[in-house]
Point group: C2
Chain length 366, copies 2
């Protein structure tokens, strides 16, 4: 199939596999009373979003720009959660006016800005570890995310006075959380907070467990969370659950095909210069992330650096990789369906890659 697709190769190709997206959604669906809201910041392809729209409950957004984008491609506001740590008053006003379904509140101050009808999710910073890299943790108290636990009493006083209803409690413990135990710890922690609300007569029945579900980039596989789903199915503190995955649904559904334009010799190794770089896939440069890379053709293996076309040394995919590469070869970069093109920059003004999906054995440019 890939050999067919590269026949008229002109520029890098992002190739999605519809089946994998569906499989990833099914991995989550065996929990009762769960609603899936896809975090669209992980992928902005409108066709992918439209496909997802048929299979899940809605979308999590982090800016008015994202809400407007969803509206433009036909997604209704009742299917949208509005999140983000930096909502301005006018942003909140806009979301309420447009009847966005829910708002994830990240601080006490924010509740104050809500005037009108919208379902409120109180997103807590539980000061927990997620066993994740420092750069992508979001639930330690020294980072910007979430309501601090010690603000609870202040919030209760305020919402009782103003007669504000709370729809859900929530948390977000980071990205790439590989172990179920971190979610369970967070749930137990938020159950305590729920009890504080309940002791003041405030009933909250829904829990938003956020995102953070991991994939294994080295092995091109998703992690499985069956123990967590079991835990949620048995849970008696909450009746309903919301989940906001991004990477988990689309990352491993896509691979990138890129051509080796030049090779250069350096002592015992070679450098392969490919036609895609940090303008479209910034994760290796920004987080030192590793994407699995294979050659479409079989070659005698040698040590290679694999680098992009951008005028920056940072633009490096892998150093000293044991792989066979010749000029003109096509390399396959795996797991590029999330946080790649959605982080694309205009730097160096390179051509936008082609996006293609395989669905029901048919190839379609999207």
């Amino acid at each position: 199939m890939i050999k067919k697709i590269i026949k008229n190769y002109k520029k890098p190709i992002f190739l999605y596999n519809y089946k994998k997206i569906i499989k990833n959604i099914k991995n989550i669906k065996n929990i009762k009373n769960i609603k899936i809201f896809y975090a669209i910041k992980s992928n902005y392809n409108k066709n992918i979003i439209k496909e997802l729209n048929k299979k899940i409950n809605g979308f999590e957004t982090v800016s008015i720009g994202e809400i407007k984008f969803l509206n433009k491609i036909g997604i209704k506001n009742k299917r949208i959660i509005f999140s983000g740590v930096c909502k301005k008053k006018r942003d909140i006003k806009y979301a309420i006016k447009k009847k966005v379904s829910m708002i994830s509140v990240e601080s006490f101050e924010e509740i104050n800005k809500i005037k009108g009808k919208i379902k409120i999710i109180l997103k807590y910073n539980l000061n927990l570890k997620g066993g994740t890299k420092k750069e992508i943790t979001t639930c330690k108290k020294d980072n910007k995310f979430g309501i601090r636990s010690n603000e609870t009493n202040k919030i209760i006083k305020f919402i009782k006075k103003k007669k504000i209803k709370i729809y859900a409690l929530g948390f977000h413990i980071g990205s790439q959380i590989k172990k179920v135990k971190y979610y369970i710890k967070a749930i137990k922690s938020i159950e305590k907070i729920k009890k504080i609300y309940l002791s003041k007569g405030i009933k909250i029945k829904t829990l938003n467990i956020g995102g953070g579900f991991a994939i294994n980039y080295r092995k091109n596989k998703v992690f499985y969370y069956d123990k967590l789903w079991k835990f949620l199915n048995k849970n008696k503190s909450f009746n309903n659950f919301i989940i906001e995955p991004g990477r988990y649904i689309t990352a491993n559904s896509c691979l990138t095909i890129s051509k080796v334009v030049y090779t250069k010799k350096v002592n015992k190794k070679k450098i392969a210069i490919i036609d895609i770089g940090m303008e479209s896939i910034i994760r290796p440069a920004l987080y030192k992330s590793v994407h699995k890379i294979v050659n479409l053709y079989k070659r005698i293996k040698k040590y290679h650096d694999i680098v992009g076309p951008i005028c920056e040394t940072t633009d490096t995919f892998q150093k000293n990789k044991y792989i066979g590469i010749k000029k003109g070869d096509f390399l396959i970069i795996k797991d590029t369906g999330s946080y790649c093109l959605s982080m694309r920059s205009i730097y160096n003004m390179r051509e936008k890659p082609l996006e293609v999906i395989i669905k029901n054995k048919k190839i379609k440019v999207i």
Copy 2:
């Protein structure tokens, strides 16, 4: 002036000072026979480029996208150098067809792809240090840039056989080169290569010393290279020089005004969440770079983290900065005229900042 500009503040503002751009150009101009080609990848604002076009010799580009962009805003191809490590055959063909003035060749293979009339610059990788961060060095032999010295004989054979003329020799020793000695070392090294060409009857009169000229981000100042200009003025190996600065001309000509939307308490410090982030200024997240940040207002100083609005912990400008900040304040981020908006991404779909220039005491949106 800034207080006047923020009067109707709606979103972050990039504020350029025309005077500073002119001053930076003048810092270079006291060399005889030098031609300045601005590296446009450092700033894509079309008004800035048009202003520069009146004052310098032309522009250095790294992709066909950049060439097309310059053409679109009225810059002629005779004022363009085409560089980059990943030029495809069709890119070179396009540049020649459009009569781009010069091409910077980065490997032996590339010369092979040149069919037609264009001035050739042979850009060497001299395997030298530039005293710079590993991430931004470009002249060590294990990185992708430049022709390797040991390819010289092969090149000479080839160009004699094909009757190809060479217009200039060149090098690029990295970014943020703070000491003149690195340039002088590189010039001495390239003079030896020139002699090899000369010994085979090939005269090359022009030297392209590339870019890499530094600014001091902590002090919001440019470095000065008077010793280098003197050295070039006395140089007898070459008659003409080309220089390709980017950052040196525009970085310190611009500052960014951003509003503090929220503050959060963390033990002894506070977090200030501002309305611009890594989507527009990625240098702190990508290179751990520090931009000087001051508050427009005077406050009692405390320890603050300054973070952006993006849903990433990486989106941090400075940790534990001793500065006074209150909600609603305006922070001034200095030296944002290069490698900020030209690296802007669509991530989180935030609004594009406003760009404004002060020229002859007048404020103009650009």
